[in-house]
Every structure is written in C-alpha cells, then in structure tokens.
Amino acid sequence: MRAFNAIARVVYVVIILGIVAFLVAGAVPANLEEEPLTFDIGAECEYPVSDSKETLKDNLRMAVESNEGTLTVLKKGTPTVYVGYLNPEDPGFETQLDTVVDLIDGYKTTQPEARVILVDEDEKIVRQEMRIIDSDDMTMHIYTEITITNNLRYALKDINIGLDLLNNNGSVDYRILKSLPTTIESGGKTSIPIDFEINMLNAVLVMVSGTDESMDLYLGIDVSGKYYFGLAGVSAYATAKFSAGDELPPVTMDVEENRIEVTMAEKLDDSFIDLPDDAEITIGDVTITMENDDVNGFSVVVDTGSSKTIVDALKEQYENEDYSITVVIDGGTAETFDMDKEQFAQMIEIIESMMEAIA
C-alpha cells in the first residue's frame, strides 16, 4: 500500500505540474517580443469600376483619411494602368478626387469588370477601416475584415463574430452579420470577413422603437471564442451607440394597431443613417411617411389608412411573397426596391416588438 500511495502521489504531483505548465505555456506568447494577440480591422482598397460615382467618392475619401501621404489610383491588370493620384494635403484635393472618380467612371462602358486599387509610394495596396459596397438607396452594404494574429501557443477555436442592430432597451434587436466559426492556429493569421447589409428602413424603425428620448441607434458586437483546447472560452458583447444628437426635445409616440406616429420638434442630425428631408414609403397597404427638416422637425407615421392592423397588412404581403417597397425621396420619382425575405420578416418583427413594448 505504501508503494502504491507513493506512486499515486508522484502521479498527482506530475499532473499538477503538467496543468500548471499547460496554463503558463498558454498564457505566454511563443515569441516574447510579439503581442499575444493582434487585431487589425480593415480591408484592402480595391473597388469595382461599376460602383456609382458617389460610392467611389466616399470610399476613396475614407481611404485617404485612413492613410498618410500621396496615394496612387491604378487600374488592376498586367500591367497596371495609372489613373491618378490623391493627396489630402493638397488644396486641390477635391478636384483631384472628382477627376479620379470621373476617370474610373469612364471604364464603366469599356471595361465594366475592371477594378481599381489604391497604392502607397511603395506600390503596396493600402487598407481602409471599411469599404462601402455599392447598393441601392435602401441598403447600406459594408465590407471589412478583422485580421487576427495568434502568437499564443495554442489555437484559438470557434471564433465567431456577430453584429446586431438594437434599440436602446434591447426590446428590438436583429442580427445583421453572423460569421462562420473560424480556428486560428498558433502562429497563424486569419482574416474574418465582415460583410453586412443594413436595410435603412429597418434601421429607422429600430431607432424609433427605443423607449428613451435620444433616438440613438445601437450596434451590438458579439465576439466569442475558445482557448486551451476548448477548456476555456469567452463570449463578449459590446454595445456601440450612434448618437442622433445631444439634448434632443421630447419624443412623442402614438401607437395604435393600425397607426404609429413618432414625432419630435427638432430635426435629427445624420449619424449612422443619412436621413432624407422627406420620404414616403409604400409597402402594400402600409404607408410610411417620414419628415426630417428644420421647420417641422422629425416625424415618422406608419399607417394602413384603414382598420386593418399594420402587422396584419405586412404579414399578408409577406405571405403573398411580395417583398417590394416603393420609395419616393425628397419629392423625386418613385423607385421600387425588393427587400429580401429575411429583411421583410425582420421589419414585421420590429413592428411587432414595438407594439408589444408599448402595450
């Protein structure tokens, strides 16, 4: 028994030492001169020439702001073709930008599949925090990448990234991005694409569904992953706020099953969403009228124009698989957009949540 006891104790000590060594080894980077983990958010500055001039201009402006010095615009190919240069320090920067955008736009007819890149003085493609992907007026499509370098000794497993659009009290939230689980091996570097679309109508509905008087829009950033071969993990949720403005006047909400009216005596500044001065959106039997100007302030009215409830009217259209909406912005011509099935379902869900929250 004594020998067995001695052996068992030795085994126990060896296990304890092994666990301590395992934990310590996992906490210390393989190369002590490196950070254990490095994160970089950004995507390479590469754009299709088919993008609208407005999108190209926005992207180029953001890219120039994210980098220093003079940047050169090249059309991709073998060899590359010089398009122009951009120097934000130059007083004539706006002219440079317009010229470059016009030149890129010129390729639309001759080479619609072509792409342009932005390079620095070393001819290396520069990066920007995020890139707008050209889409219609109702959708904001953004692309970026999170690049994670794992200098730790064990793999980071099941890295998941999610993005939610929320109102202030969390009564409405819907997921706009869900990444695929990713594993980053020790010493490895992985870029996780962050490619998401925000339906602007849904975003406005989320914003007005809040219970406070701030009219702020929230973005939930959900990151989770496992370490130590899955023995430990973390799930973090950060809530970011896009403020609509400071010290806003009181918001009045009048909610009935067939009519929702949200009003505020002051114009809402653009923050995350570029709000038009005047918009009328028709979704089947439901009309959404939005005003946002200095004279009348901000208002959104969702109305069926009959005793039919808003949710029933929208559900009826959803069941008929008609996801189209007609939009008239600032008194312009009517445009019809097709929401996808998921976005339409999300819109119904947001309105139902608003009804429940206020009831």
Partner: protein, 367 residues
C-alpha cells in the same frame, strides 16, 4: 497490528493544537489575505483616481475573491478536523473526504458555475464624435477547467484512501501508545530535582549547535565579511547605509541570542513531560520575547528606507514602520500562545513520561 480502532475511537484522538493552528492558517490564507488584497487593490485604484475606469473591470475579480472567502469558511472549519487527526486515522479520512467533496461545490461557487460574467461600463472610455462604445459584457466560460479540477479532486480522494492505508499501521502504533497513556494511572511521582538530572545530552547538543549556527555563526560571518559583501554586491552609498542598519540588527541578534543557545540545549536535553523541560521551555519562550524586543531596540527601531506603504483609515495613517511594529506584536502574541501550548504539552506528555519511567524501572519511584 491486530486491533483496529473504530471511527468513534479515532474521533476522540485528535489534537486541538494542530486543529487550531490549521484553522488559523487557513483563515489567514482563505479569508484574511484575500480580503486584505481586495482592500489594497481598491485603495490603489482610488488613490490613482481610476475608480470610474477600473473598478467596474475589477468588480468581477473582487466578487470572485469574495466568493472564495465567504464560501471558503466551511473549508476553514473543516481544516480543523482535517489537521487535528493524524494520517491513518479513520476520522482524518472522513474529514478529508468531506472537505474534498465540499471543494467541488466551493470551486463551482467561486467560478459562478463555470460562467463568470464581467460587465464594464465603457461609455466614458471609447467615444469618438457621435460614436461611443457604451458597455462590454463578457462571459468567461470555464466549464472545461472546472471539470479538470473536479477530476483532480477525485484523484485527491483516491489519495486520501491510499494515504489512510499506508499510514494505518503507524497510526495504530501511536494510537495504542496514546491509549495506554490515557488509561495509565500514575503510581509514581518524580521531584523536580530528579527530573533535572535525567536528560539526553546528545539531543540537547544537536539543538544547541543548530541554534548556535543560526543565531550566532551566520550573523557573525555576515558582520565579519561585511566589507567583502559590500564590494561583491557593488552597493551604492544609500544601500551601504541600509546594510549598516542590517549589520547592527544582526549584531543584536547574535549578542542577545547567546542565552537562547543555552536554553535550546536544556530544552531539548529533557523529554516533554519532564518538569525541567517545562521550566526551560517557558524560560526559552519568554526570553525569546525579550530577545525580539531587544533586537528591535525596545520598540524604537525605525526602518532605514521608505517602504512606500501608506494605508489611511479615517484619521489614522499606517506606514511601513507601523506594519513592522504590528508584525513584532504578532510574533510576541504567537510566542505567548506557544508558552500556553507548552503547559498543555507538558500536561499531555506527563503521563507518558511517567509511564515510560515506571516501565523502565518504576520501583524506586513508587510511593
């Protein structure tokens, strides 16, 4: 080993002293030290003016330490029973198993069931124009580690059985000895004069030599070769001044420690239970208090450097010197407790001393 004690018998063979010491040490390590740590960290954060930024980050850690301390109280109580019994005792095995089983619950409570939540208000930290990060909620998932720890506890339960099995024989020898002591009715008496003449010079000498080396030889060597030490360590002027104070301290350790060498000889010279042992033991402990008092210049000793420690509590402020005085006071209280323990030990061992004396040649002491 024919007779095997029952659990009931083993339960009566515990040591109050060992149990109390275990309670004190585990109370210190499980409750007092963590709470002091919380107090220090909170004090530092407040002193740096970072309450708003850091307290919410540290809150989950503080809560975890609180759970460690509060749910650790049963572990402190069980430490008494675990340590008061010897290895090989059925009572020790029982309390070891209870304590280990409770440890599983304890770990579960400490780590909040394996999912520790952390909430940090970041509204004042990350702001950029219209954009701000309001808060970060994180959940640390430690289920895997909890399972590993439970595995280790189960392994320790196995070790409790193997330890019991391998020490049972030895324990039974001690058990029978102690049982014999308890059942023994002294038929002899010894005088102080008799006890004074009966000791072991070998044991006494060993203890005296050890004390001589620790208390006198080592300090003497450091003092004697101080110049060489300063040179080897390349101490600057400020450090030399501190070193000089240390040398003075060592001088007092050696000079006033001389009586302790002699007392160590006489204390070990006699067996526990011998009246002479009790006398020298008590004199030794009381003189140790005087020795500590003399080393630290009768409470006038001042640290030769600024420790940078300053605790403020209301109108009171405590610096490094106050903490040193407190440490000296704790040592004195500890030595006084050891003096009381010496009296209890004497009482406990007296019967064995007399029994052995009687077994060896009791006729000459018989009443």
């Amino acid at each position: 080993m024919n007779y095997s004690s029952t659990l009931g018998e083993d339960l009566r063979f515990g040591s109050w002293g060992k149990g109390t010491l275990a309670v004190i040490t585990s109370l210190f390590s499980i409750v007092i030290l963590p709470l002091v740590l919380i107090y220090i960290v909170e004090g530092l954060i407040t002193e740096m003016g970072l309450e708003e930024e850091l307290l919410s980050v540290f809150d989950p850690m503080m809560e975890m330490i609180w759970r460690f301390a509060i749910y650790g109280l049963p572990v402190v109580a069980l430490a008494f029973f675990k340590k008061s019994y010897d290895k090989g005792s059925k009572a020790k095995l029982l309390f070891n198993l209870i304590s280990l089983a409770y440890s599983i619950l304890w770990i579960y409570f400490i780590f909040d069931g394996g999912a520790m939540t952390i909430s940090v208000d970041t509204s004042s930290l990350f702001t950029d124009g219209d954009f701000s990060v309001e808060n970060i909620d994180a959940v640390l998932m430690l289920n895997g580690f909890i399972i590993v720890m439970i595995g280790l506890i189960l392994f320790k339960m196995l070790l409790a059985f193997t330890s019991y099995g391998s020490n049972r024989e030895k324990y039974m020898e001690k058990f029978n000895e102690t049982k014999a002591d308890r059942e023994y009715v002294p038929r002899i008496k010894t005088t102080f004069g008799y006890d004074l003449k009966h000791g072991s010079a070998g044991r006494g000498l060993g203890s005296a030599i050890l004390k001589l080396i620790l208390i006198m030889v080592i300090p003497y060597l450091i003092i004697h070769y101080s110049e060489l030490i300063i040179e080897a360590l390349e101490l600057d002027t400020e450090m030399v001044e501190i070193f000089d104070v240390v040398l003075d301290l060592l001088y007092r350790v050696a000079f006033y420690g001389m009586p302790l060498v002699f007392l160590a000889f006489f204390t070990k010279f006699y067996e526990k239970g011998n009246k002479a042992w009790l006398m020298f033991r008590i004199i030794g402990l009381l003189y140790t208090i005087v020795w500590v008092w003399l080393i630290f210049e009768m409470g006038e000793f001042v640290l030769p450097f600024d420790t940078g420690i300053l605790f403020e509590y209301g109108e009171y402020a405590f610096d490094g010197n106050d903490i040193l005085q407190l440490a000296i006071l704790i040592i004195v209280v500890y030595l006084l407790l050891k003096t009381v323990a010496a009296l209890l030990t004497f009482r406990g061992k007296r019967k064995r001393y007399l029994r052995k004396l009687e077994e060896s040649d009791g006729n000459q002491y018989r009443n």
